[in-house]
C-alpha cells in the first residue's frame, strides 16, 4: 500500500483511501483511524459505513456476528463486542449482557426488576433486560 502525505498551507485535514475494493486490510486501517476519531465502522453490503457512536442504540452478537443497531437500521460490523465495549466505554457504551453492549446515552428509561435486574427502555421503545451481574456495573457507571 502506498502512503502519501501532502502538506499544503491552510488545507483542511482530509484522508482519502483510494482502493479497488474495501478489503480486510482497509477495514483494519479504518478501525485504527477511527479509534482516534471514535467512530464505529459497520458494513452495508459492499459499502463501509462510519457511524457516529451517538447514533448507535446498542450492539449485539447474533449468529456469530456483531450487529450495530441505530434508530433506522441494523448493520453488521467486523468489530468484536469486547472491542466496542473497550473503545467506547468513555462515550457511554456498557456491557449489559454476554451478547450486548448498550449506549447509555440512548436509554430512555430504566426500571428496577426482581432479583437485582434492570429493564432498560431504549430510545426506539425496545426493552432490554440487564442481568444482575451487569446491572451492578451500570449502577456504578451512572453514579460516577
Amino acid at each position: 500500500m502506498k502512503i502519501r502525505v501532502i502538506e499544503e498551507p491552510g488545507a483542511q485535514k482530509e484522508l482519502i483511501i483510494r482502493c479497488e475494493a474495501v478489503d480486510d486490510q482497509i477495514r483494519k486501517l479504518l478501525r485504527l483511524i477511527n479509534a482516534q476519531n471514535k467512530r464505529i465502522v459497520a458494513n452495508q453490503g459492499s459499502e463501509t459505513r462510519i457511524l457516529d457512536p451517538a447514533s448507535v442504540l446498542y450492539c449485539e452478537y447474533v449468529d456469530r456476528g456483531v450487529f450495530v443497531y441505530t434508530a433506522q437500521e441494523v448493520l453488521p460490523t467486523d468489530a468484536a463486542l469486547a472491542e466496542i465495549e473497550r473503545e467506547f466505554s468513555d462515550q457511554g457504551f456498557i456491557r449489559c449482557s454476554k451478547s450486548m453492549v448498550v449506549n447509555i446515552k440512548r436509554i430512555a428509561a430504566l426500571r428496577s426488576d426482581n432479583g437485582g435486574r434492570i429493564i432498560a427502555t431504549i430510545d426506539n421503545g425496545e426493552k432490554i433486560i440487564i442481568s444482575r451481574h451487569y446491572a451492578a456495573a451500570l449502577r456504578e457507571k451512572l453514579s460516577q
Binding site: 457511554g92 447509555i104 446515552k105 436509554i107 428509561a109 430504566l110 426500571r111 428496577s112 426488576d113 426482581n114 432479583g115 434492570i118 444482575r132 449502577r139 457507571k141 451512572l142 453514579s143 460516577q144
Partner: protein, 151 residues
Amino acid sequence: MDRFKQLYVWAMNAKLFMGLYFVMLVALTGIVTAIFGGNSLGLLSLLEMLGLSVIIALLQVVLLDSHTDYSKGILFSRSVIWVIFSTVLIVVASIAFKWFAGLPAWGPYLLAGFILIVLPGMLLGLKWEQETDTVRLNADLESFKSKEGVQ
C-alpha cells in the same frame, strides 16, 4: 461452571426468602400459640416450618422471580396462586404436624388469616423497593446524560 454459578445464585435468592419465611412462620405460630395460652413450640415443629419455608421460597422463585412486574400492582394470577397455595400448605402442615396440639381447633385458621396478610405484605415490600430503586435509577440516568451533554 456457568450453570453451577447460575444455580448457586438462584438457590441463594431462594435461601434469603426461605430465611424470611421461617422467621415469619415461627413468629406467627408463636403468636397464635400465645393467644391460646400456649408458651412453647416443639423442636420438630420448627424443623417442619423450616422445610415448609423452603417450599414457599422455591415456589416464589419459580412463580414470581423472573416473570414479575409489580409496577401495576401486587395481585395478579401468579402472585395470587403463590399466596393461596402457600397459605393452604401452611394450614395443611399445621394440622397434619399438629403444631397447635392441645389448643382450640381454629388455631390453623387464625394462622392462615395472619399469613394472608403477611404474604401480600411481602409482595408490597418488593413493589415499593422496586419503585424506589426505579426512581433512583432514572435520576442517576438523567444526571449522567446531562453531564454528558445529552438532550
